[in-house]
Symmetry: C2
């Protein structure tokens, strides 16, 4: 008779509320959700009982019935990189505002792990999956999409914001013009490795193009395995003190900037006198550094909230309210780390 699954500890369920309020579970559900008929009297009694017992409808049961988990998955390429934090925050806030909850999954820069994480999110039946960056295995993702997973890829070709491409390109142009104006004609564009994600590729291309346009020779530099300031410093020194010296380095990722700055100081390269410096990505530290760093700033937080709000509107079947164009602002912020090139 007793085919008991382990009885959940002290969780009050809808039946408890129904009993306490002297109505049926159906009425409780209707009264609390506001859908369907319910007399004022019933509403009052249910509200009272529910509050008194501290009832919260259990998500698993609800999800099972409604096929909506009120859950948004967020796949982050690598949580170790703080760039993703504002994005995560944006998604969380938008979700929060509409009663959704966020499940984060870190792929840790591993394709295998990414797949595992995708499987998990799929198994969770998240209502939608938001990509914080480019996925490593597009094919796998597409399979899950076909299996019913709703995916939002902000970087994708028909993603929520194709504006972005143009705005970041624009900012990059400003940056390059700025450099050209100050007499720079040879610069290094430093990245960790060959650009993988869409953003990185886009950015890399934009730098190359813009530089060509204003007559600057842009030398792409891949750091590869080099992780030590001294090591990187030697390499940078080679560039800066060669016959045809590089007079500015552009850093392709915010998280890379500290390493580059340490490298320069290890090599005794003075910023900005001997070599200017610009980086993609802004932060309090970039502004606090002396000299204050010139940066290309984008508002990832705003971007994330915009995307997520839009997404949720779709999920909830509202009209998908036009996205705020301001959310995609990308701008070049000149500060003190780039100076006139030494001739």
């Amino acid at each position: 008779m007793n085919r008991e699954p382990p009885k959940r500890q002290g969780h009050v369920d809808i039946r408890d509320v129904a009993r306490a309020a002297g109505v049926s579970t159906a009425t409780v559900s209707r009264a609390l959700s506001g859908r369907g008929y319910a007399s004022d009297d019933a509403r009052r009694k249910v509200a009272a009982a529910s509050r008194r017992l501290g009832y919260q409808p259990a998500a698993p049961g609800r999800s099972l019935r409604t096929t909506r988990s009120m859950t948004i998955g967020l796949l982050v390429p690598d949580l170790a990189d703080p760039v993703y934090l504002p994005f995560l925050r944006g998604v969380e806030h938008a979700a929060q505002q509409h009663g959704y909850v966020v499940v984060v999954a870190d792929a840790r820069s591993s394709t295998t792990l990414e797949r595992r994480q995708l499987d998990r999110l799929y198994a969770q039946r998240v209502d939608a999956l938001v990509l914080a960056g480019s996925p490593r295995d597009r094919a796998y993702l597409r399979r899950l999409q076909r299996a019913g997973l709703m995916v939002v890829d902000p970087e994708g070709p028909n993603g929520p914001s194709d504006i972005r491409r143009t705005t970041e390109a624009h900012a990059t142009t400003s940056l390059c013009e700025h450099l050209a104006d100050l007499g720079h004609s040879r610069i290094a564009y430093v990245t960790r490795g060959a650009p993988r994600g869409r953003t990185a590729q886009r950015r890399s291309r934009a730098v190359i193009d813009s530089c060509r346009k204003v007559g600057i020779a842009a030398k792409p530099v891949l750091l590869g395995a080099r992780r030590e300031p001294d090591d990187v410093g030697d390499m940078l020194a080679g560039l800066v003190r060669s016959r045809k010296p590089v007079t500015a380095v552009v850093c392709g990722a915010h998280s890379l900037a500290p390493l580059l700055l340490r490298a320069k100081s290890a090599a005794g390269i003075h910023v900005p006198d001997e070599c200017s410096f610009v980086t993609y990505g802004d932060s309090d530290w970039a502004a606090a550094y002396r000299p204050a760093l010139s940066v290309v700033r984008r508002d990832l937080y705003a971007r994330a909230t915009a995307i997520t709000t839009h997404l949720i509107a779709q999920l909830d079947g509202h009209d998908p309210h036009v996205t705020d164009p301001d959310a995609h602002r990308v701008e070049f912020v000149p500060r003190d780390s780039v100076a006139r090139a030494r001739s």
Copy 2:
């Protein structure tokens, strides 16, 4: 007859697999989970069908039956503060390793929001809730605990790591001794406001105590509404250039450091010549800053993984494996931002 709930799009369920494999759903479940009997033949057929159809057991259904959601909630006091990122990452990694998934909830420094978020996590029936920092409304939390929510409070009195208190106190002592050795006798301990969370209170007390012990006068400074570098700079200048000058400032929170540094430079206070600087919390930027910042570093990532692994062992009913003591390491890292005090 057709009392249809909205049919889920293209999701393959256990029945589909059972049909494809020519067995019953019970067998599928047994074969996949490995619990209970299943012939090798059945296992093979089920595995094949399952793989071919891309079957992933739906979490809501499973949770409903097993009363385990394989989900860990993480309540973050304020996602805007990057301190919490390593912690989040640690929790996520440990969870990931054991098949759990993490739901993050940001309280955004608001008590109201914190309560709402707690309700949501409770409604999600997370298997456990980990607190990334001190909760604002302990009473509310306790109510949910009584209602069946399992809460892990790393800062709590009988939290997983009381060691921590002593280790951080130890590091703080080193810091103060370091300052005393270099001849400092008056310092400022700067925080955003009156310390709220346990960590902040503990730290504040530790600084005061350690200073007294080595004969340093520690002046607590609350920034309050001051947010502008100039404003803060004036205040700092007042302290540093008074009759009885403060010769070092200790920054109580990593995220506060950039502001303080900008303030100093705005006020023309040279670090470390005119005034030394130390901060709690380490980062690439702190090391890249010139002068490189002396810091008190703690490994929040290791801490989080340790706590979470321990937690999951409990959840899964394993022996809760003793936690790695190294996980709670807190150490003072002297670098270049503190120099001998000007007499």
